[in-house]
């Protein structure tokens, strides 16, 4: 398989079309949706760049927190949810809030890097 253009280049091209051509020619609701679409592509681009490393860090923290060797982040998160639900893990559990904060900061850096709550968290 080739990658010329790469997935990233294709997304950048579509985003550029939305920003420079489509959005200026659309009006009202359609223009709004074009802006949302462009923002969604920006999210995809950030995710491609940031997710692999962020997810590796999340896996390490979850394995330490849950004393588990499970490699699947989804399964680890399910397990953490269960532990919280039954009360074995709570706000007082050492490392929990730090882990959740790091994970959420990484998630928001992909989803909404301009969100005000991210600045509050960094303080």
């Amino acid at each position: 398989m080739h990658d010329a253009p790469s997935a990233k280049e294709l997304i950048e091209a579509v985003k550029s079309f939305l920003d420079k051509t489509a959005m200026v020619q659309l009006q009202g609701h359609a223009a709004f949706h074009a802006r949302v679409a462009s923002n969604a592509l920006a999210t995809v681009l950030r995710e491609m760049e940031l997710r692999p490393a962020a997810e590796a860090r999340e896996r390490d923290r979850l394995q330490a927190l849950l004393k588990s060797h499970e490699a699947d982040v989804g399964k680890l998160n399910c397990q953490l949810c269960e532990e919280i639900q039954v009360g074995r893990v709570d706000l007082g559990t050492p490392g929990l809030l730090t882990h959740l904060k790091s994970t959420t900061i990484d998630q928001l850096s992909v989803d909404q890097p301009g969100y005000s709550g991210l600045r509050t968290a960094a303080r």
Partner: protein
Amino acid sequence: MGTVTDIEKALTDWASEHYGAGAAITGVRRLSGGASQETWAFEVEAGDKGEALILRRAPGGISAPRASEAVTLATEAALLGATGKAGVRVPGVRHVSAPGSALGEAFIMKRIEGETLGRKILRDAEYEIARTRLTRHCGEALAGIHSVPLQGLPGLPTSLGRNQIDKYEAVYREFDLPRPVFELAFAWLKANAPEPAPPVLVHGDFRLGNLIVDANGLGAVLDWELAHIGDPREDIAWLCVNSWRFGQTENRVGGFGQLDELLDAYAAAGGARYRPADIDWWEIMGSLKWGVMCMTMYGAFKTGADPSVERAAIGRRVSENEIDLINLFEGLGRHA
């Protein structure tokens, strides 16, 4: 029925009855395309009695099943009457029309001039004086709403803190998308639930976006669809939820004010005396609730009910509520 011509005719008939023969209707225009609700603006010309009005109407004049918790238009009109009597700034109701009538299920209220967009209210120079008064005005308005005698009100759902945890937890579990921050918030809310306050009329969506603000401050409280009987702290805390501060996080009250000032104004206007720490539980509830609501909006995309890119993208805003919850949890640690 529902064309502009139909509505103009029904409004003209109504106006000649209420303002006298010869009263004319002008400028009928649709303001919002909400699925659950039509909002129209128009003017009555009747010599010196003319005025600018708003028509709120069920789509096509026929009541459709609205969001499960939303009150009917007739109830909304009754709430405007009752809260207006209690001194809350609300648009005066001019007419309530029944299902099956020419206008259909609808009500007509006075049009209040001003701004509803949160970012403009918080940023534009025009609202500089308004911003210095808004905290006090909101405290007074909330005290007024919460003082309305419950006996005279139309039937409203009751929803206390514990009901809301159960309701939103059920919605969250239905998605089967485990999110540890939400899990922690549900567990914490259950373990730390305060004693319920004596139930009052709660607006249910009291925040910038649903308030008309003019150069002098609060002009009117709108959007009563989520009104219910509940805990007064719910309204106070909802105004504090970071999602409604539009980036001005340092101002806990709606992005424009400090909680101490709001609580002082609330107590001075006859409301109960609360401390900022009394609001924390309900603010955590509010952030969690909005997070689950964002999941629900994404859910509409996932099921195909609303395939728009906007509904898809909103799923990537749920993490905003997660960071707000974490910031709130860290704040609890600092107070303790």
